[in-house]
Symmetry: C3
Subunit: 204 residues, 3 copies
């Protein structure tokens, strides 16, 4: 039940981020809904396609479609108020990537792929909804340009596979990894930490 | 036989729309062919991938590749004449989305997914060839910005699942749904109907 | 062993081309790695998804991820020197598409699809990593605009299916086809051969 609520909150946060990007591009009602939908379920869909877990997750479960639909309607109605919620949205979004990463890792383990690939699947689950959103909106994906976002997912995934080696319950490793993802991202945002710069000023 | 002819006409119309967009972008011969191909088969391919129906449809059937190839050659040769055929092309295209939507719904039913997801699959089959075309050509997909296009597919899909509840032959429901899609789109084009505007002038 | 070395060289060349495009777009470290990765494995991934060969190839084999990772690190460190290696990179890249085309064809034959579709799969394996790279970097894919690139893959694929009809070892046909792809591309680059122009000056 706890997981389910967090999962829903993450989905809502992702859908809202989709609505905001789509409305900046002045898409119509259908476009806004599709972008919100793709942002929320795109990462999990790509993960399911890569491991051959079809029909993909959202085809087997109404809840997500329904929640995204309601989120879109509310987000469009209250779009001006949303702008004052950036901080809350960041929190949901961060909880969302934490949980989505672990969902991806679990699906990878179930599909029998190796830990490194599980971490990749977790990162894809958490991040590629946003990548597809940006491609559909004709932007270079934001996570390729700035923000410690995918990096937090990778760190969290690594932590999980280290934590499960310890003599603790798997559930604790699971929750620990989610906390590491959330903390990494929030600290990076707060202290404006970014990945090391690879461009020398004089050359680029 | 009747279905087959309509299917072919739809494929041709979709391929031509691909050629026109690709030539506006001044792509080379290979680029034009790929864009035409993707426009015609992209929606069905995405549908097959989502439900795990692989190898995807066009890999198992030569006809489409051959027809698209011939269409591209003719469209390039007679590109100037095509501009006078906008009305005819619109008709083919509209018939095409009507049929493609129902093909998608049928495949969804065969794959055992629920009615709402079948409607999503139908809409994907009809519309996402154009979405992939626009992404490859570095444009925001046109169906996210204007035109009652996907909306017609969704309405048609809904109608089908309402019509099959009536005591009539499934074939009639099938044909009825196609007619509803075609009519919705043609009326929307004729009377310049669009989705309700979600932007307030003063805010955006 | 010989195949393996060429395969690795091709992967390296593809990854480097990804790094160069990503750095031109000023992506961050994560973005550069993802673009390099996608350029190197994207074609094979799309092929595997289309024929339903999942989990996709790179999920089952560490080598590629490791090699791409090392390539990215070295390429970023020595990016200025890379600019003097254009000729060497072109050679690796050309050997890469030759081999990748044949890998795709073999996978298609194993999946039981017909020769024409095998050629399509070979071309996808060789070319669509670059297509996905360009889409993620918000460019119209370069192979749709210029260069005899995909055309070389198609010619090579055709040659293979003609050569296997001759009373020679399949291995010879395999190597022959790779040579034809490499020669076609190198000659086209050297003599600046391109596909026939489909635009009349006065119209476009």
């Amino acid at each position: 039940m706890f997981y389910f609520i967090i999962d829903i909150l993450g989905t809502i946060a992702f859908a809202i981020s989709g609505v905001l990007v789509a409305m900046e591009k002045k898409l119509d009602l259908f476009g806004v809904f599709i972008i919100a939908f793709v942002t929320a379920v795109g990462g999990g869909t790509l993960r399911d396609i890569l491991i051959g877990n079809t029909p993909v997750a959202w085809m087997r479960e109404y809840t997500y479609v329904l929640i995204i639909f309601i989120t879109v309607v509310l987000a469009i109605l209250f779009v001006n108020q949303l702008k004052y919620l950036r901080r809350t949205l960041l929190l949901f979004d961060t909880i969302g990537i934490g949980l989505f990463t672990m969902v991806g890792i679990e699906k990878g383990l179930t599909a029998g792929v190796s830990p490194v690939m599980c971490i990749a699947l977790g990162t894809i689950t958490a991040c590629f909804g946003g990548v597809i959103r940006d491609i559909l909106c004709n932007e270079i994906p934001v996570i390729f340009r700035k923000e410690v976002y995918a990096t937090a997912c990778i760190l969290g995934g690594l932590s999980y596979f280290i934590l499960v080696l310890l003599p603790i319950y798997t559930t604790y490793a699971y929750i620990g990894a989610i906390c590491i993802i959330i903390l990494t991202r929030l600290l990076a945002v707060k202290f404006k930490i970014s990945l090391p710069n690879i461009y020398r000023k004089e050359n680029w």
